[in-house]
Amino acid sequence: MENINLLERFDAYVAANKKIEPKDWMPDAYRKTLIRQISQHAHSEIVGMLPEGNWITRAPSLKRKAILLAKVQDEAGHGLYLYSAAETLGIDRDELIQQLHDGRAKYSSIFNYPTLTWADMGAIGWLVDGAAIMNQVPLCKCSYGPYARAMVRVCKEESFHQRQGYEIMMTLANGTPEQKQMAQDSLNRWWWPALMMFGPADDNSPNSERSMRWKIKLFSNDELRQRMVDMTVPQAEMLGLTIPDPDLKYKEETGHYDFGEIQWEEFYNVIKGNGPCNKQRIATRKKAYDDGAWVREAANAHAEKKAKRKTKAA
């Protein structure tokens, strides 16, 4: 009885665009869904450092290297904001990390693709961060306070990522024919995976409706994907590059671009763990975590020793 009352109040509250804070009553399913969504998002930021980390030592200039380092450091920061937001829902950081390592938690499938050339640093910033921004800007207004606040910080910083990526593409596209070809090849490889980042088509996204009612998802997958296409096509034209989709066509009647069929088989296959780099990504994460164990333990020992000294002196 009590719970029904609370649930009604919760629903009305969220429907009125008010925010839920950590200690407020919330339905268990809302809590669980949020933990899954926020942690998945945090893991994506953390795993997302790996494809770009690949190019830090091989950046073409000191300037590009400094920028890439700053960007990768931002991704780590974004992961940390989001882990903290997830923890306000009553789950430990350690448990979150274990879930990633043993495969119970997912991360964005885009990071299971390899970064083969320097142009991929451009395409990732432009398309992958571009898609991320498209997804994340609405979440700044989501119903869960700590998540919304984390997204505000993330979005502010993400804008630099996209612009630096586009600038890399621009430099290559205006360079030698080989450099322009490198940019085109990169666009060819990242275009479709970037569109898949918005998730399955609406008619195949079973939890969307509930998440939208809860205001932890504000636009449908297909809606955001269409926006991404509409926004990106003119940007590609400006670069003089061709989007690898023969069916791409502007529709005067709708004011939108029609685009080709997404290869969902590939998407589900990568999610299942069979993408080009799934195993490598998790192995790298686990190794970093295990190799860092002695540092975490030493820091604890140091803190304990200092605390003891302090009580002795007092």
């Binding site: 009553w25 450091q73 940390l80 923890e87 350690d94 910083e157 820091a299 604890n300």
Partner: protein
């Protein structure tokens, strides 16, 4: 074994510039206060957002509970005479 334990959670407060108050920025894990400050610098002030940082162990914060919200804050609802706009004064009156 105590060395296996998670680093404790800290709440981070940042003064954006001299003259402003410290404002809650978020939280993070660190083994001790000193490390919490250093981590807060890296996590929350990468773009000149800070002139000063406070860190407080999260378990040291005492908070009011949502259940007490009405009891705590509703009494102010019917005391609108605390606001200057409550008072009807002639428009010609100046400097007030």
């Amino acid at each position: 074994m105590s060395s296996k334990k998670d680093w404790p959670l800290w709440e981070v407060f940042i003064r954006s510039r001299q003259g402003m108050s410290h404002k809650h920025a978020g939280s993070l894990h660190a083994a001790d206060a000193e490390m919490a400050i250093t981590n807060a610098r890296d996590v929350y002030t990468r773009r000149q957002e800070g002139a000063s940082i406070w860190v407080v162990p999260s378990d040291q914060i005492t908070a009011s509970t949502p259940e007490d919200k009405e009891m705590m804050f509703d009494p102010a609802n019917d005391k609108i005479y605390r606001h200057p706009t409550f008072y009807n004064l002639p428009d010609e009156l100046e400097h007030m």
